[in-house]
Symmetry: C2
Subunit: 446 residues, 2 copies
């Protein structure tokens, strides 16, 4: 047993890292942990781990290092720049699995730094993860890994240990491709986390019972994973804090920064980012991201007498679903168009996203037709809506009714309004289009 | 004298209406005022006016009625629907000058209502105004009037009495065209009022001296009328209240609603509208619109340690100018593209806008090239930047540096980020374009 499970160092024992590292302990690995926060190290020791006081000490003589710090800046410090950085003692040919969510640009620069520092022998694995602390502790994460063939050969068993067998994605394209895959997934996360707040805030402003609104969405074609997982905490005063606004804000900024680098207009994600900045400007950064609903509900009763047109509960519930559907369509299109821009395998992207936190019924429906269009070109795909499916015009009309009602009751719909504008741009190119044709707005290379 | 200055009724004696009505008194007209707020009527009486207790009483036996209420709903009530509405007693052939800012759709429906109520004899004048309370009292407003030839013949002297001679715009297209002209001007107003707050908020977050930032912008190619008139009040605790957030929010909603009716994507104005809704949700609605800067500055010191890249004062001042230039470019393009969509004379629109509150150096520069493109088609205009002019790519690059710095210091730039996305969409169509070519994003009919 012992020689089939090599010693592993683990840098960064936060909510995710601690779960991943203790899972490796349970699986029989000897794990030496490092974290800047001493109480976490004590806890890790109590769980059966070894501990080190510096990154260099942790990685010494270990063939494998997993790095799960919060940011690229932290990764740079613990691996390269710090006085006791890992690079000083990493054994020749060691594999470094960078599991943090970082920009593609950063992990590629890390590869170059290793080479220019004479450590081209290190096998860098660009392997961000998704799935939350519970799945980290169960060893059933989604992992998207890009690396050289040699690195893959060495690291695959350890990656497989931490991932759900169906959710270990080996991403073509080498170092950087894993981070790109995570990034396009986070387009969905960034938009849909905020969309849950926008939809529930709208429901509240419409005077709906929130539990009823929640159940209606979950049973509709606007179901999405984030809505299902965020809305319960909106009904419990945003407790427990499962994922802070600061976390999704960080990932959102990676997306928009990489978008600028690729000259790709992140129309939806940039809109979400500004709202996240507003939220942290209010001091909400450490709060659970479900609490963004406050930004939509605080005006209730303060904006003077307002009169909506919707009267029945069913009509109002329909508006909430129509709002979400429009947002989900545009976030799905932005995610896949960005994936296409950075050269990812779109089938793999879709498979990952529909089975992860970015999943939605809309993505399941429009994803295949968008991929077909990218593969075959716009004309070949035709973009005609199938019988029984909503056309882009119909999605637009329904969304528009929701946006109009929000305007009457003077509540902001940052994402919904942007989605409507984006769909309008697509519709200017023709009538009778399938919903997925909205991707034309982004898809200069269709 | 008396028979050359006919008796006039004046409905709606708010800040604007009171100034206009008292100016008519000074000019020798007999004016009978009506307002729902009794103290205003007393004040009007003290200024030499006559008063009435209902709209019907006010307009009785007067050949002219000026209506300057706040909203379409109020106009409908005082003219048509109320128990003592003006329509009951308006003399045959009377001219009704609706000077309120209302949707084109509304004033056109008013015309139809008059006809279906058997009052097609009434000469409706669609004549919204611009210029603020001081110019209202001086009789030097900008007025944009659309109406039948018969109505023009009758109403021109009265319109001329209230307008600056150089700023009375007779708009081709009949009833509705005046409101459309006001609307496309208000695209600039809606975006540029918020842009002043966004730029000064960014300046504050960058640690700049605000008076210095203000002077730098005023001396730069990012000068704009709104910035010049809003920023002084940012330095005096938003006092005095010159124009409430509620007012520009109302006009903004007219733009976006008419945009939806025309299937025109109001990318910039819709972004501004959501921020206005956020502001009124905070209870800021009655405050001066310069106070929107609070939405950008409140995060200072609350978002944790942040580090920008700009170090020198000159560099930071440059970022503020670059931010504004990008926003001004996109608001100018949105305004002219919308004007084109609703069929206005673009030369007249430009002449009005550069000489009114929507004016900016950017509009002066790009307006003519955008108009040329609409007239001649894209290919003919060529869209090549002239020597010494910033290309669209250069505007984009400079704006991008500002957006990147804002991301580092975690401050929202709602308009700047949207402008960057919009410019990216235009740039996807080619390189080396003149700045005005951004209008392609809106201009499906170029």
């Amino acid at each position: 047993m012992a020689d089939s499970k090599p010693p592993v160092s683990f840098i960064g024992l936060g909510a995710m890292g601690f779960g991943m590292a203790t899972h490796l302990l349970k699986a029989g690995y000897t794990v030496t942990g490092f974290d800047v926060w001493a109480p976490t190290l004590e806890r890790f020791k109590a769980a059966g781990g070894l501990t080190a006081t510096t990154p260099a000490e942790a990685v010494k003589d270990k063939e494998f290092c997993v790095c799960m710090v919060a940011t690229a800046q932290q990764a740079q410090a613990v691996l390269i720049d710090g006085p006791d950085a890992a690079i000083k003692t990493l054994p020749v040919g060691a594999a470094v699995l960078l599991c943090s969510t970082v920009p593609c640009e950063y992990v590629q620069s890390l590869q170059k730094q290793l080479e220019s520092l004479g450590r081209g022998d290190i096998l860098l694995v660009d392997s961000p993860v998704s799935g939350g602390a519970a799945r980290a502790a169960d060893g059933t994460l989604s992992i998207m890994a890009g690396m050289s063939d040699a690195a893959l050969q060495k690291a695959r068993p350890l990656l497989a240990e931490m991932a759900d067998p169906a959710k270990l994605y080996i991403v073509e394209g080498g170092v950087g491709a894993g981070s790109n895959m995570k990034m396009v997934h986070q387009v969905l996360a960034a938009c849909q986390i905020l969309a849950a707040s926008e939809a529930m805030g709208f429901a509240d402003q419409l005077g709906l019972d929130l539990a009823k609104a929640q159940q209606t969405v979950l049973g509709s074609d606007a179901w999405n994973w984030m809505f299902e997982h965020r809305t319960p905490r909106m009904l419990t005063q945003f407790q427990p804090i499962a994922s802070a606004i600061n976390i999704i804000m960080k990932d959102t900024s990676i997306i928009t920064a990489e978008g600028r680098r690729s000259a790709f207009p992140t129309l939806m994600t940039s809109t979400a980012e500004q709202v996240y900045f507003s939220g942290i400007g209010r001091g909400f950064g450490p709060d659970d991201d479900s609490s963004l609903v406050r930004l939509y509900t605080e005006g209730k009763g303060k904006v003077g007498p307002v009169h909506g047109l919707a009267t029945t509960e069913d009509e109002k519930l329909g508006l909430v679903v129509d709002l979400l559907r429009g947002i989900l369509l545009c976030s799905a299109a932005e995610s896949l168009a960005f994936a296409n821009r950075v050269g990812l395998d779109l089938e793999q992207v879709l498979d990952l996203c529909v089975n992860a936190a970015g999943g939605s019924r809309v993505l399941e429906k429009v994803g295949p037709e968008i991929i077909k269009a990218f593969k075959e070109g716009t004309a070949a795909a035709g973009w005609k809506a199938s019988a029984g499916e909503l056309t882009l015009q119909e999605v637009s009309q329904k969304l528009q009714v929701a946006v109009e009602e929000a305007q009457r009751i003077k509540t902001p719909l940052f994402l919904g309004t942007q989605a409507l504008s984006v769909i309008r741009l697509a519709l200017a190119q023709g009538e009778g289009l399938a919903a997925g044709a909205v991707v034309k707005v982004w898809g200069g290379r269709l």
